[in-house]
Amino acid sequence: MGAFIVLIGLSGFARAGGPASSDASSWREIETKYIFGFTTGSGIGIEGEKEFTTDTIGRFGKRGGRYSATETKYEFEFTPSQFVQIEFGALGSTHDIRNATDLDDRRQVAFSGGFGEFRYLALERTSNNPLSVTLAFEPTVRLVDETSGERVHNYEFETTLNADLELVRNRLFAGFNLLYEPEYTHTLLDETIRETKLGGSAALSFRLAPNVLIGAEVWYLRHYDDFALSAFTGDAVMLGPTLFVRFTPKMFMTAAWNTQVWGREVSSPFSLNLAEFQRNRAKLKFAVEF
């Protein structure tokens, strides 16, 4: 969280470097995809635009001892048409686990897999229609389990609906996501695990300056031990601040911090759900367009 405050301080640098006008009507329109933190906006970029990004998600805090894990996407993104965006890349992960309940102690850095993403703009925003909606499909293959760091074969198919609304022109935006994320895991012990994450989010992002947006988001996430959403095991609510800073016309960053503020595990007396989710999560993404 301290790092997040430092990032907000750094955003002052971008703010100082941007156009001085406080009249938002004179600001350029903004691409909404990355302005909501973990919530993804509907933007698909500009036809012909290419982007390289590093996108790191850190997860911190499980029941018991110490738990810290990160997964970084090294991602190439391009927009081949005015309706479609395609992304693909490799995954790297780190795990630092000690005395956490139900997890083996581990300290490791690993290449952990690859992913692709296909985004289709289903409804576009115009000056007469503030709502924009994109459908996204993201198949992922992992060789390292996201949570435990064990060697596995994991196949995930994240499906999301990304919507956003321009509430006040060039100033205030609302974002909404719906998530359905089934995954199949085959462990080294020859076990197979089927599970699904289902959820939704709402976010608000305020454009403080032409190149700086701050906001907040809330996620409600449910976990099931099957694909058909019949074996419910627990749920959680994550809440936290978001930040987007455009340093130059071709370079930006986005950051977010979510804390679990409510959660439950089926047949467990504990408050919070630290079995399927984490106490805190953070996101830090840097992108260069070309």
Partner: protein
């Protein structure tokens, strides 16, 4: 000979239908809009086009350095070299105002009004 089953035909037809909007080229006649760029400004700054028809921008850069025609709402960009011309195809548009600008020059702005 390979014969498509009914289900494969259905999948093929669905894919073909889904791919239609991916192409910015259209059988419809495009509305051509000519814009010149000089002294760091677009000329004219406001242009008009009919709704639901593709638009073709022809940008003439009269300056001695490159410019980048870009628009977030039109979802297009093109670098136009010094003393040359660039062509940009845009999908059929719904009524509204679509801003464009030179990505290399904060003060160069223009707007396409679709009605």
């Amino acid at each position: 000979m390979y014969v498509l089953t009914m289900s494969r035909k259905l999948v093929f037809a669905t894919l073909c239908t889904a791919m239609l909007p991916f192409s910015t080229a259209s059988a419809q006649q495009a509305t051509e809009i000519q814009i010149s760029y000089s002294n760091g400004q677009f000329q004219p700054r406001e242009v008009r086009a009919p709704a639901d028809k593709p638009v073709l921008f022809r940008i003439r850069n009269l300056e001695g350095k490159a410019m980048e025609f870009e628009s977030t709402s039109l979802r297009v960009e093109k670098v136009v070299a010094a003393k040359s011309q660039g062509v940009i195809n845009v999908r059929p548009l719904k009524p509204g105002r679509y801003e464009f600008y030179d990505d290399f020059n904060e003060s160069a702005r223009g707007v396409l009004v679709v009605e």
